[in-house]
């Protein structure tokens, strides 16, 4: 079966971002960009399913600026077979991304659609679920284990109290949680090979999607600063401060 994996180009997880002084957004000039960590886990899972013989072809999709092809190439170096870049300069919302992915799914007919549970830039945690709704497909969100059996997939999900296992009819959407797997590193020969793999470039219009959204970001501000704390020298001093100064115990 075919697997489709969606990856997003985001600011690297270790970068501490700064809000622009005009409050229009965060400053991303000259900031290191990477593949979203949850998307990397999704790619890894698809590759493992291919290694097991469950999946025959992996298509990786990214929606975003031209530079997002770097992230598609990274996914190819990890084992994806071909790529689709849907190029758009606009800051695109989760619903629009889900609509574009729906168009791609309808063309490619994958049985498994893998996404990260959330992107670490907008922290929305929406696209997989929205795609599930648009396709009328089942969703296994926050997956920590995936088992394909015939025309079904069993997904163990990380929920607030512990774990929950659901069984979905294929085609189904899976969004990955951190503990699903440990993504591999791309080996140099594979990085070289990835350059030769096919990559199609499309536009949102090819899927009949307009990128206008009714959700506007009015402004972006830095979070409130915490007032500077103090170093205490002993346990006695700590207990005294907590009791008499902070009054929390």
């Amino acid at each position: 079966m075919k697997a489709l994996v969606a990856v997003k180009r985001v600011v690297d997880a270790n970068v501490k971002v700064r809000v622009k002084s005009d409050n229009s957004g965060v400053d991303l000039t000259n900031v290191k960009m990477s593949i979203n960590p949850f998307c990397e886990i999704a790619v890894e899972e698809a590759v493992r399913l291919k290694e097991k013989g469950t999946v025959s072809e992996i298509i990786v999709v990214s929606i975003g600026p031209k530079e997002a092809q770097e992230q598609i190439r990274s996914a190819m170096a990890l084992g994806a077979d071909r790529g689709i870049l849907v190029e758009t300069a606009d800051d695109i919302g989760a619903l629009e991304v889900a609509k574009i992915l729906k168009g791609i799914v309808e063309q490619e007919q994958p049985q498994l659609i893998l996404l990260g549970k959330q992107a670490i830039d907008d922290d929305s945690n929406q696209v997989g679920q929205m795609l599930g709704a648009l396709l009328g497909a089942g969703q296994g969100t926050f997956a920590s284990e995936v088992k394909v059996e015939g025309d079904k997939v069993q997904v163990t999900r990380e929920i607030d109290g512990g774990l929950q296992t659901v069984e979905l009819t294929l085609p189904a959407i899976i969004t990955t949680d951190l503990r699903l797997n440990e993504p591999r590193y791309a080996a140099l020969p594979n990085i070289m090979k990835a350059r030769k793999k096919p990559l199609d470039t499309k536009s949102p219009a090819d899927y009949g999607v307009t990128t206008t959204t009714k959700l506007k970001t009015v402004k972006v501000e830095p979070p409130a600063e915490r007032k500077a704390g103090v170093q205490v020298k002993s346990v006695d001093e700590l207990v005294e401060k907590l009791k008499n100064e902070a009054k929390v115990i």
Partner: protein, 310 residues
Amino acid sequence: MSILVIAEHDNKTLNGATLNVVAAAQKIGGDITVLVAGAGAQAVADAAAKVAGVSKVLLADNAAYANQLAENVAALVADLAKNYKHVLAASTTTGKNILPRVAALLDVSMITDIIAVESANTFKRPIYAGNAIATVQSDEAVVVGTVRGTAFDAVASEGGSAAVEAVAEVKDAGISKFVAEEIVKSERPELTAARIVVSGGRGVGSGENYHTVLDPLADKLGAAQGASRAAVDAGFVPNDMQVGQTGKIVAPDLYIAVGISGAIQHLAGMKDSKVIVAINKDEEAPINAVADYWLVGDLNAVVPELVTKL
């Protein structure tokens, strides 16, 4: 204006997170209806009817909703949503699983993790692991959003007297099935609702040491226990104890971080705590920058001493 709040529950008791969502709904203003979708969930509906500020409770009681499968519950909510201007749920794994599906069925954009209500259509939410706060305005016909519980004070669970109305409609998409559940049992308060949280990180060294060192402290303070991702990944404790961008978001009165360096992703889950204490052997640990009090020392010596002196 009218607001539909999706109740969080386990078919027996109403989860406290719902009270925080009702508080956010009150800030928006308008009649508040709570939907209880479950199986054998009459007790939950009765509890929801007593919540202060709730004017109506809808009970959709059917086996199809027993385990809150998103495919079924979202279809029901999307159908009911036509009569409301807002649809809200808690930013829990259940709320985050269901609501985006509802939004897409309604063909509207959605707002995750609302931390402040500016007006009926303008809200604040954290982005970039809490390193920026975005103000967003929704011009959609229905505003769909999840509410970060720790950002709103819970309304009283008593004092209301709403009528409970049954919803006969059954939506069973037939594409998903509940198989099993493994709930971690704990005698301690729930992490997201606790007044005091004691968290351990990689520095505690092992699962055994986590419990040897931190259990007495949590017991003494009546605290919930949490962990950093490093501690969870190392297998010290189960993952539902993880505090951070990808785990739980907490904002207790007192957060004690033991052996936690303070990565951006961890800070995203706890930096709104009222008082933060860091106990770490590293003087340069990033956690100290957000701590109100930090103590540099060996946690294996410091924590037991703290227990005896509290």
